[in-house]
Amino acid sequence: MVGVRGWRKAAVVVAFLGPSLICLLAFSIGPMVGTLWTSLQEWNLIRPSRFIGLGNYRELWHDEDFRRALRNTVYYLVGYLPLVTVGGLGLALLVNQKVRGVALFRALYFLPVVTSWVVVSLLWKWLLNPNSGVVNWLLAKVGIEGIGWWTSREWAMPSVIIASAWKDVGFVMVILLAGLQSIPESLYEAALLDGAGPWQKLRRVTIPLLTPSLFFVAVISLINGFQVFDQVWVMTEGGPAGSSTVVVEQIVKNTFTYGRAGYASAQSVVLFVIILAVTAFQLRLQKRWVFYASS
């Protein structure tokens, strides 16, 4: 039975959650429902739409380009996630010391995050130039030759992965740094009294207490990674010959270049379902490995 406490709690929930939830419904969920409706239409944006039921989904089922885009997106995630997490953790540990000038280094590591993809892709295309780039020059010294990087089918996606990990490592660093800074000193002192060395401190104190932040990084990176777009658009344009196409690139091309907004909406719905499933799975797993001090 809902007593006074029940109503009071409801009031509190409404007060804290209300404004946020209303805006969410109005400006995020609403348009998402609009997208779902559009996925059942044929629409080029400039003429009235035409209802075609599940026609877009049926076509999507046989779309080889979309399947390739999905494969490339998963490939991207498998390469990008470990790189960016380990790199970000390393940098965060590096700058979580009270040495002089550490604020400057934190700012420098954050620079790639704020630099636009236009500039970053120019740099990486230059570094990864098969003929004259620094990377291939170094590889040749150790006897590895012939990697075409962004000019070849096989290596276009790895080029995007490397450039993306490099750019985002500062982003992960900032998040993990915040997590590191929230670990109470008293725990380190206690570990020290027990005779722990730096490696033990990392394994027994730092990492466990960092798991909420690591979980956050994993979920966010996965959700964002599935929607990778800017770097592919700017670096390879999905090429050469469509070998580095990803899902959101297909969606944007279909919406604004090919005039197939309905089909693109169907692609978005499918992408949404996939991300939702993966994230739900991650959320269930969190009980296994994430340690919350409040529980």
Binding site: N44, L45, I46, R47, S121, L122, K125, W126, N129, P130, N131, S132, G148, W150, T151, S152, R153, M235, G239, P240, A241, G242, F256, T257, Y258, G259, A261
Partner: protein
């Protein structure tokens, strides 16, 4: 600024007619109409030129104000389509020839046939280019064509004769090979691997893109010849993708720094070339079986949903065909107005370099218009990707073309 012009004009006319100032002012504000115009060709270099045209129009039409909206070409269509989808289309906007058909057939454009006072003012082919099914939906504003731009110093140094209008592909190939020098980093030729070069090369080889029934037939022997002509260049006389290295506008930089002998590009490059000081001239592109030259056109259209059709049409008529527009465009090299006025172009021909500006107009004798269907962009991408896979993957050209033909026929 506009208000002041209007006020001065109002005052001047009042003094001349001796009428009451109050009466003129009252009528000016009662029926004020605002017409929006969205364009991609004004930013970044010609905003002032457009302002001059707007001012001249507003001075002649005191009750109309023009609100200019600009965006870069790459972002233009995203914004335009969203505006139209949301029901807030601009009253008038700019479209290029390839995209025009889609908008016309989707019912987004107003039939302006009744408002075109002087059809002979415009170049006949251009006017037809902005009509669909004999309905006039827009007015041609500008045209530009693609020519062969060559570096005179490099030809002199190699002791070769300059290209002439009679050259064929073989002549171009021979010169390109003679002029390419890997050691000094000089390339003999540059022709982009894209749909836009392909349909033109196809016509130069004597082929056609669509047959009489509207089915794609560019995988013919002529199509093969064109594809091989284009794809044989990278790595021999032309930089490869890796050479380009992702540097944007690489071919422009290459030519402007004097390291490219021949360049297939458009007349819009002249201003930049003149500023760079490179010693160049132009000639009509070499053909094979016949001559064919790519011509591009931009036009102004009126939205179907506009509240002020008469005023909107008056604006685009002024924008496309008035003396002010023609003079402004020619004076600042802001594309060529698509008007039937040889006398006006006399001043254009006198600006040098390049010496051989006449080639710009000679190219119009043999035009290759882009093939256009409703699903235009998908067709363009299919053809470009087929050509790219020949270069990047070594796909058999005939196979690549056959696949592209199947894809394009699926789009019609």
């Amino acid at each position: 600024m506009h208000t002041r012009t209007r006020a001065i004009a109002a005052l001047a006319s009042t003094l001349m007619t001796g009428g009451a100032v109050g009466a003129s002012a009252a009528s000016a504000s009662a029926e004020d109409v605002s017409i929006s115009y969205f364009t991609f060709s004004a930013a970044p270099d010609h905003l002032e030129d457009l302002d001059a045209i707007v001012e001249a129009f507003e001075a002649e039409n005191l009750t109309i104000t023009i609100e200019v909206q600009t965006a870069a070409y790459d972002d233009y269509f995203t914004s335009l389509q969203t505006q139209i989808a949301g029901g807030s289309a601009p009253d008038t906007f700019e479209l290029n020839y390839e995209n025009f058909v889609t908008y016309a057939r989707s019912g987004a454009l107003l039939d302006i046939g009744e408002y075109v006072a002087d059809p002979d003012r415009y170049y006949a082919l251009a006017l037809e280019g902005f009509s669909d099914d004999r309905v006039q939906y827009g007015l041609p504003m500008t045209f530009s064509d693609v020519v062969l731009i060559y570096n005179k110093d490099l030809f002199d140094a190699a002791g070769l004769d300059y290209p002439t209008a009679d050259w064929t592909w073989e002549d171009e190939q021979a010169a390109a090979e003679a002029l390419t020098d890997a050691e000094t980093g000089v390339f003999g030729d540059f022709q982009p691997i894209s749909f836009f070069e392909f349909y033109k090369a196809l016509q130069q080889a004597g082929g056609t893109f669509f047959d009489e029934d509207g089915q794609a037939m560019f995988n013919s022997a002529e199509g093969l010849a064109a594809a091989e002509w284009l794809t044989s260049k990278p790595g021999t006389v032309m930089p490869t993708l890796a050479d380009i290295g992702g540097t944007p506008d690489f071919d422009t930089s290459l030519f402007q720094s004097g390291q490219l002998a021949m360049w297939h590009n458009g007349i819009w490059q002249f201003t930049g070339l003149n500023e760079s000081g490179v010693n160049y001239d132009i000639v009509v592109e070499p053909g094979s079986v016949q001559s064919a030259n790519a011509v591009f056109m931009n036009g102004a259209v009126v939205s179907e949903a506009t509240d002020h059709p008469a005023e909107a049409a008056a604006w685009i008529s002024f924008l496309a065909g008035s003396e002010t527009t023609v003079d402004t465009r020619l004076a600042s090299s802001w594309e060529l107005p698509a008007v039937n006025d040889d006398a006006a172009f006399a001043s254009y021909l006198e600006i040098t370099p390049p010496e051989n500006r006449q080639a710009v107009f000679d190219a119009l004798d043999n035009i290759a218009l882009p093939p256009v269907i409703e699903r235009q962009q998908e067709m363009q991408d299919a053809v470009t990707q087929a050509l790219e896979s020949i270069v990047a993957d070594g796909t058999d050209p005939q196979e690549a073309l056959d696949n592209a033909v199947d894809e394009v026929n699926g789009l019609i």
